[in-house]
Symmetry: C2
Subunit: 258 residues, 2 copies
């Protein structure tokens, strides 16, 4: 695996760990990474606490091409991410002139640029700004660490600013076969199909809906041809148990799955 | 913080990291921990890969009272959690007689206990079983590590089996004041309230709905009296800006918030 095409995500947020908020940022970022051909290899959710943030950042940043963080860059007392990232890098922390200018444009006058708002212009020295098309106050990048807001709409805007600047690989394609079979029944045959296709990840995900057991067989790869062939094999396998798939969702190109 | 009353969660799941599945297990477990008075201090999402799982488990288990895992204990080739946990503990791995008996009762006959199904009776030697009231195959506990299924309904059933056996502290209570104020406006005053109440965590969470900015001020503590008093102070602060809260959700006891 090309390290350049790997990423980790650090969600900084007491509200996720307390159960108050259902996270949606993981799924959003994971999907965008798949489309970009970047493999998200780990996510951590850590509290808004200096030691925990520094530990996660410094453990992950040498391991992957990109580290993304969300949360803790607003104007209130619980927003400690920016200062903590400076500490993680051993960098000075102070007002970023470009960020200050962006905030001044956003709030229109010096008198509106209160100390709380000016907090959002404080960054590690050496940071590059990340454009925030939603609410003014920018995120920032230090080396391979990208610091974004936690509010989903703002994070999404910042990520859109970042994506064109990242490396990109072949997008991960994913095909899903749904059926009403117990996974223990198909386990051995499915394992044999997996063995035939090294470049394809085959996952088996049972679920319960309206009292009956369902199964989603998910095939994922950057290799269109093998993914297409493996998908046909899985469909054939399902039918070999006398069952017709309840759904076939295919994103690969090639002869249609029959 | 009493280490006994802390927990970490490891979500083992390619389907979360690929963006295919929106995780809901984090929020479910986080909420149950808050109710039990256990502080969830970290969550990691790792792929179904041996090295990644072992690293996360062995880094987290000395740090907290409880480590929970979800995912990867079914009958298919991608279910590698049980064997990997054995390796993390340096334990032997083999058929657990009690687990085998549970599966035999569930599948009714020896002939139905196929090799794939029997896979779910393989566990680290020394494991204690976790009851699965939903679909038979049990989870297991090794020391302070609790290994559960990834399917939400099954995980929830297993967690219900575990919770009465865990230590419990005072439940975390959480009050929320919603208002339509920019957080940069109230940041300084809110920070001063935070300084007055050390035992209360005050978080500020802006959001965007139908084009207007809203703010949720969340106060969280195991200390009912201080939480109640801090909540009243935050409500008074909101009103001092000439704004009436759009919502007050209070779980603490005491004189009503006025």
């Amino acid at each position: 695996m090309d390290k350049k095409l790997t990423a980790a995500l650090v969600i900084i947020g007491n509200e996720i760990l307390s159960g108050r908020t259902q996270d949606t940022n993981i799924n959003w970022i994971a999907t965008k990474m798949s489309d970009q051909g970047i493999k998200l290899i780990e996510v951590r959710v850590v509290p808004d606490e200096e030691d925990a943030i520094i530990f996660a950042i410094n453990e992950l940043r040498p391991k992957v091409g990109y580290v993304f963080t969300t949360g803790g860059i607003g104007p209130t007392h619980d927003d400690i991410t920016s200062e903590t990232i400076a500490k993680a890098f051993g960098a000075e922390f102070g007002i970023n002139a470009d960020a200050r200018k962006i905030l001044l444009d956003y709030y229109k006058s010096e008198s509106e640029l209160t100390p709380a708002r000016l907090r959002m212009a404080h960054m590690p020295v050496g940071a590059t700004l990340i454009d925030n098309p939603v609410s003014g106050a920018p995120g920032f990048q230090m080396e391979n660490v990208y610091v974004m807001a936690g509010v989903p709409r703002i994070m999404q805007g910042m990520l859109d600013s970042i994506l064109p600047t990242l490396s990109s690989g072949k997008p991960y394609l994913s095909n899903t076969i749904s059926c009403e079979l117990a996974e223990s029944k198909i386990a051995e045959t499915l394992g044999n199909i997996q063995k035939q296709y090294e470049s394809v990840d085959i996952g088996s995900y049972p679920h319960f809906r309206s009292g009956s057991v369902g199964l989603a067989l998910v095939l994922r790869s950057t290799d269109n041809d093998n993914l297409h062939a493996a998908t046909q094999d899985v469909v054939d396998m399902v039918r070999s148990y006398g069952v017709e798939p309840t759904g076939i969702s295919v994103r690969t190109d090639g002869k249609p799955i029959v």
